[in-house]
Symmetry: C2
Subunit: 332 residues, 2 copies
């Protein structure tokens, strides 16, 4: 009996010490070390403190903690072109040997002749549809994985997955560690993103909501497969983002993060919900460490969104001022 | 120092005891108490033992553990009509006061005059589209919640959510307790199901994949809302089930459960994956405690699927033989 009491007491003391120690550590360690101290960082932490304090009026129940993140320009860079488009252009070069007519057929000829400035929006859609279809779901996954693990960015020479934003990785971790389920809600293709987001962002494939190509279930030689078809059926941009969040998640997010007018509807819908809400734009203000652009950029244009964020008091993460470090490798 | 060593030893012993105790309990307690002992139950448990034993060749890594469940006829009853259709018929009666022309306009007149046997598939679609649209996402959620908490089944008189299958609730729990993420993949509407599945099945809204009505993002008096539109854009049945699983989850399930030919493609695609797989049909064989039907039923027809399951050695849960209890309230 004495041994039992001693054991119980020892366990109790050990657990109490551990709990106290963890609390102390949580208070002392900085959850967002790549963020400079300032109003943006403070506002994020203040939001989280209230949202997770069950005695606060701003408390958010655990099963409502949904946070959505745009990808291009919000979690990784998007210049000179969306990285998925660079993948599509690489695919054109790779597939050209099987399409002898391409060097003379626009829009493929523009790509093969280095005239990508001639590409219209319709041309880009044609190229994406042609390069992202005609194979099984498993084959496409392998194609993207092969590309992303070997391709290098045209100006930085870095692998694309090393051009993710360290402050945003920390932010996603911070939200997850406070019980939030984190989702990608992006104009990028769902299958393109799923090939690499698990390992890069620690987000499982089913929490990735992207644009959709049509797909078909087929028995080929008696073997079931999903075949990708050359038709974009959901362009997950602008007003489609809240709609797709509704269709896929079924709930309004509590927090949403974007960087362009393409994210504005998602942020509007998020912030308009009852109770505590957080909406934030990443503002590309750092020409030296990343890129500087907003109202007049062809990629990631942030114009109306910037006005609405300022008017509504939403958060704006100023890359240059708020971010101590941009990419994970920058401190090496 | 002595105290420290004592504490550590005590903790170690306590943890060891707890671990041994849990192992013993796991072996002794039955995870599927509503299932009769027999080959179906044994096969399920054997599958799980191997899938979760890291020394087994049949081991499934934690992040691949995806199990998909059809809803109507698999997790709850579906006679005399799909419950969502009964909801739609109730809605017609309720909305009739605002539609004075309905008593003379088919297909609404059929419903209002008790001639539901006259309804064609197209009529049903017309009724679903008319009764499930024209309101905000929040309003629709409230309408379904109000209905499901008050409506009673026409023949049993039970609330619909008490007509779920206890053995399947146990099965979902069993899968979740072994690290599987459980998803509903149903022909039912995604928003209809999400209004009640969290509390009934312990499945969060984002793990519900259903048919989709079109929806639109709108600013109404400056307030953002999602408005439901009268157009079915995804009919999540038959060959669309594996396609929608691919679009929403991005991975092939390891285990899939259905009860009709509408689930056949999902089960085919699941079982055709590499490594250990489990496919099971619920076979409605119990005219006394539930309903008895398969090859010739208008609702939940199981014909080709039954042949393919038998030929392929898939599991078939025979309600009458395999299930000790059907509904949760049956033992009261």
């Amino acid at each position: 009996m004495k041994i039992f009491v001693t054991s119980v007491r020892a366990i109790f003391i050990a657990m109490l010490s551990l709990a106290l120690c963890q609390t102390a550590m949580a208070k002392e360690s900085d959850p967002l070390p790549s963020w400079n101290d300032g109003p943006t960082k403070s506002a994020i932490i203040e939001f989280m403190d209230k949202a997770t304090d069950e005695y606060s009026e701003q408390y958010v129940p655990l099963d409502e903690r949904v946070a959505t993140f745009d990808n291009d320009g919000t979690l990784w860079s998007e210049k000179p072109l969306y990285f998925q488009l660079l993948f599509a252009l690489d695919r054109v070069a790779q597939l050209a040997k099987d399409h002898p007519q391409w060097p003379k057929t626009p829009p493929f000829s523009y790509v093969l002749n280095g005239e990508t400035d001639k590409l219209s929006t319709q041309d880009i859609l044609t190229i994406v549809e042609a390069t992202h279809s005609g194979m099984s779901s498993d084959e496409f996954d392998k194609i993207v994985k092969d590309w992303i693990s070997t391709a290098k960015h045209p100006t930085t020479g870095k692998p694309y997955t090393s051009m993710v934003f360290k402050p945003m990785l920390e932010l996603m971790n911070y939200f997850r560690s406070h019980g939030f389920k984190t989702f990608i809600v992006s104009g990028g293709g769902n299958a393109f993103m799923r090939a690499w987001v698990s390992s890069t962002y620690n987000i499982p494939p089913e929490q990735v909501i992207g644009s959709r190509m049509a797909a078909e279930y087929q028995l080929i030689d008696g073997k079931p497969q999903i075949t990708r078809l050359p038709e974009l059926v959901v362009n997950n941009d602008k007003a489609m983002k809240p709609v797709e969040i509704y269709q896929a998640i079924g709930r309004r997010p509590v927090a949403a993060f974007g960087n362009s007018d393409g994210d504005l509807a998602m942020l509007q819908w998020t912030i308009a919900g009852e109770g505590p809400r957080l909406a934030m734009f990443v503002h590309h203000t750092d020409a030296k460490r990343e890129w500087q652009y907003d109202r007049h950029s062809s990629v990631g244009k942030l114009d109306k969104g910037l006005d609405e964020a300022k008017a509504g008091g939403w958060l704006i993460a100023d890359m240059k001022k708020d971010w101590k470090q941009i990419y994970p490798g920058d401190d090496k």
